[in-house]
Symmetry: D2
Subunit: 324 residues, 4 copies
């Protein structure tokens, strides 16, 4: 399904894998400050922070999957089927349609603290973008360079959880994902001592045996564990370039390979794109399943006072460097 990661190195980075068995016409989309968002509750967001991320544009509206604003605040929506519950339409000031949450938050907040205030009493409604575009059942990870939160709108209301790992995948609800990490506390990147039977001569025949028990499948709980372990043990680097490269390697640890996640009727989930936004510079890096070269789109190379969306189609074809 999907995995999102918030990561601190020389800069702060935020990104995700989008894992689906079908693809939209998503693009890298920049929303300058003066693009007007007319909210379903009747309000308007007219002058706001600029943002960059991956979106499908429909009727000049950016339906973002993940995005970062010019203040370095980031948010990603991830699949949360059967658990996401959006309230029936109520046109109050605090009613926001689920598809509006990303621009609503990024338009006006600069930090997680501000986001928490904004989310206070917020009602996420089931108003659809338009009749042909049904809502997706989502939950969200929101991060700045200091903290991350998970936002889940369940049947019993809106939950805003501190997210100390800076990772989100899909089901089950976040508290269960977080609790589940306890079961892996004995796994290590180092070779362990022989605790099994100290009297026996048990051979550490390979490097990497200290993490035996780490799950390798593609279910959402296993990806949560693996992405967290990979992120937590990641080396620290001296350059932003190395950080970005490492970020994609972390995402690669939970990548979905074509054929490995069979959802029936010859459909297979796979990692359509992987992204890494350097939230300090506003540069959005991404790779696609068929093109492993990193592409980069810079927020600040555009006129951020504009009032129209700017968008760049994805590089989805292999880009091979021929040496001879």
């Amino acid at each position: 399904m999907c995995t999102s990661v918030s990561f601190n190195g020389n800069h702060h980075y935020f990104g995700r894998n989008l894992d689906l068995d079908y693809t939209f016409n998503q693009e890298v989309v920049i929303t300058p400050r003066n693009v007007v968002f007319e909210l379903k509750n009747g309000k308007t967001l007219s002058s706001h922070f600029a943002m960059i991320g991956m979106a499908v544009i429909s009727d000049n509206y950016p339906l973002y999957f993940d995005a970062t604003n010019e203040k370095g605040l980031s948010i990603a929506g991830l699949n949360y089927p059967k658990n996401a519950f959006y309230q029936p339409d109520e046109k109050t000031e605090k009613s926001i349609a689920s598809f509006e949450l990303i621009p609503y938050v990024l338009s006006q907040c600069t930090t997680i603290d501000e986001v928490k205030s904004l989310l206070d009493d917020l009602i996420i409604t089931d108003v659809a973008f338009n009749p042909e575009f049904p809502n997706s059942p989502l939950h969200w990870i929101i991060a700045d360079k200091h903290a991350a939160i998970t936002v889940e709108s369940d049947r019993d209301g809106l939950h805003v959880y501190d997210n100390p790992v800076g990772v989100l995948t899909n089901n089950p609800p976040f508290p269960i994902q977080l609790f589940n990490l306890n079961n892996y506390r004995h796994l290590s990147a180092k070779t362990s001592a022989n605790f099994f039977a100290p009297e026996l001569d048990l051979d550490a025949y390979s490097n990497g045996m200290g993490a035996i028990g780490l799950p390798g499948d593609l279910s959402s709980m296993s990806r949560f564990v693996r992405a967290t372990f990979t992120k937590e043990h990641s080396l620290k680097f001296q350059t932003v370039e190395e950080d970005i490269n490492q970020f994609f390697h972390i995402l690669s640890s939970v990548e979905q390979t074509k054929g490995l996640c069979d959802v029936g009727e010859e459909h297979y989930e796979y990692t359509i794109y992987s992204s890494c936004c350097d939230t300090d510079t506003g540069i959005y890096y991404y790779k696609t399943y068929n093109n492993s070269q990193i592409s980069a789109v810079s927020l600040h190379h555009e006129d951020l006072e504009a009032s129209d969306l700017i968008h760049y189609p994805l590089a989805t074809k292999a880009s091979i460097h021929s040496v001879n």
Copy 2:
């Protein structure tokens, strides 16, 4: 299928679970010293060490599943399907039919060193006990109080392996079973430190979490790992009575419960009996699936100079102590 254990405490103990989906008419059988074994190779074992163990008696012959002789040497045969390979009949001095191996070894050896000499150049043949009684594909664990060995007659010949764990189950060949323990070297009876993500506050919410990853199923490799872990971490006790009790608890960790191992056509493997022979005293203790009380048969309570088999049917009915 089966699990056998050799265990040192205040005395030396040897026993096994017999796991099958059908049962024979097995009994506790004592073979006094003057019972004559006429070997298929034409030789005769006439005056020999007495032995006690579990066997089916057919034509006055004790077909032992496991046994211990008066010198404290023990042997058990365990299922080894598709791997066991017995040589075509050759009537040489060193040719022993597979069903003869237990009495052949126990009749004349007192230690593992003597067994190793006896097994040198031995040929295990496919001669059947009689036309109605086909051979079982077996391998064997043989133990005295100082050492244990595993004996496997494979297609490429007879292998005699030192068995440092004192445990045997079934397939695959013993070297693979032993190697596999390496993969569990990080498991512990203690709660582990948090190596997974030291920056996260991971809760040791339960005792016993250091062994997460220990296999719980009934396959022969999983039973080998679990029996070894249980034996290796077993406490030491001050009395023989506690040792024997603990021995049955070790066997219980790999017990097969009725219904859990479905072999098809409404047949289920289960632990028909569990045994523990105190090899210092020659007392053979056992439990059966339906009777959890321990029964005891003593080798030395019989006339060991006799020339006829002595046998006691198993206590297979529940024996409940009514308090009021």
Copy 3:
């Protein structure tokens, strides 16, 4: 820590393993109908249902670990450290001290439906039995022959959960335990087909391989999974005697062997006793770590109109049947 099971066969059975690293002076205790319970809220339970179970008697008060009443309703308290939260003392009609819950429920209820009504608005308080006897952090499983529930008093209040598996261990809260079973849905008592690589000739070298992945350690989540799998795949029998025997085999699958659960400072949790109450007959069966023979105490063999506790010390010494 502990495991409790509710099981239907020819009769309904309810029991548990008590796993601790220390032992109380627990006994099988029968509370006849006219033993007076003076509740901490000032009320009195004077004429009530009789009950039988395991308890420590202090000041003529039965501190039950688990018990069944003459109507066949059963309840067991299990360790729930760091999660159990009892309300500060409030002397209202609906305030019950944690140690009173078992007699309070069994005194007056005959079915789970009645228990649910009784628990409605109930407040479990932190009033201790006496100053020397601090409260244990517990949660409870309550069962009749038709249904089971789990009762947890958490920081956010009292939760009464339907318990469709009829199993309870310890942490984490019950909804997480129940959710976790989803991760094992592919495990089977049968040998699986080769889904891993159908083109390869992968050998089912042992029976029981379909359950590879079943956890074998002693943590509370692993015991919950293993006890559930064992119970769910248990065969059906034709006699009560076989049912009772099988119940103990189910408990044995999650037994804690001495040495295997090291809680530090040379202390080890182990299964002090295993119990099985036949709730149709009111006979309480049990085994202890050192005595594998089943003992039985019958509720209906006593004068249930009495006003004093009746108690039988446990059979904690090995009871071996000497055959010769």
Copy 4:
């Protein structure tokens, strides 16, 4: 450590991850037909098949890690510590130093059948390349488009195993690696039915749950299982370009991320390069840890009648495509 894969799609592909905690000065090296190999046994290979692969050049000698010849035959050497045993130097016609095996095989063979004949009676010796360059303990995978073999020189002699999975990692010896796959036969790319407890409503809350139990760590046995599962379930594609892309995704499933495999003293194994040779076209594709873009070097773009090595340094710096 390392993982190598042979894969059939529209063409045949062969490649590997090189995982080490230190790096050599390896390059893509083409050996034209008339480069002279002077073997340590006194013989000379003067006119031979051209080959391309990854090598360190020392004294004009290509010390290949993996290579493919112009006939489409490929070979890779992988770490095999403590198990590899090379014979003491014997200057016979069938004595080949371990570092010579790759050019020796690729110089003269076109198929696996020819390789098997060549390996018959071959002795791999411990003669070092030069005094400063000690031998590496290796085993090898050799593949053409129809078959693959594994070659291991153990203490008991040279073993040539059919390799039906077309995957090689490191320890233990290949027969144990292959056997170990049996333990995963129940894992599937599809969601499984609920076999655990059919009476319970267990939720398939995520796609990909059928492979829960697939190991996710970096030990050599876990990488063998994971690479095989990934390869076996890989989709089939219609173009060579997609095949090559998929090949790198397969290798990515067993990639070693920096920090995840701690070998002590602040050293960490990581995937230095990943390669994929299209053996039909002789084009060698590769990625490096810091450069995820695929580079390509073509054997047939060079003068293959030359007598000097041709070499291209690796593209080890990030190559980012700036869109705006």
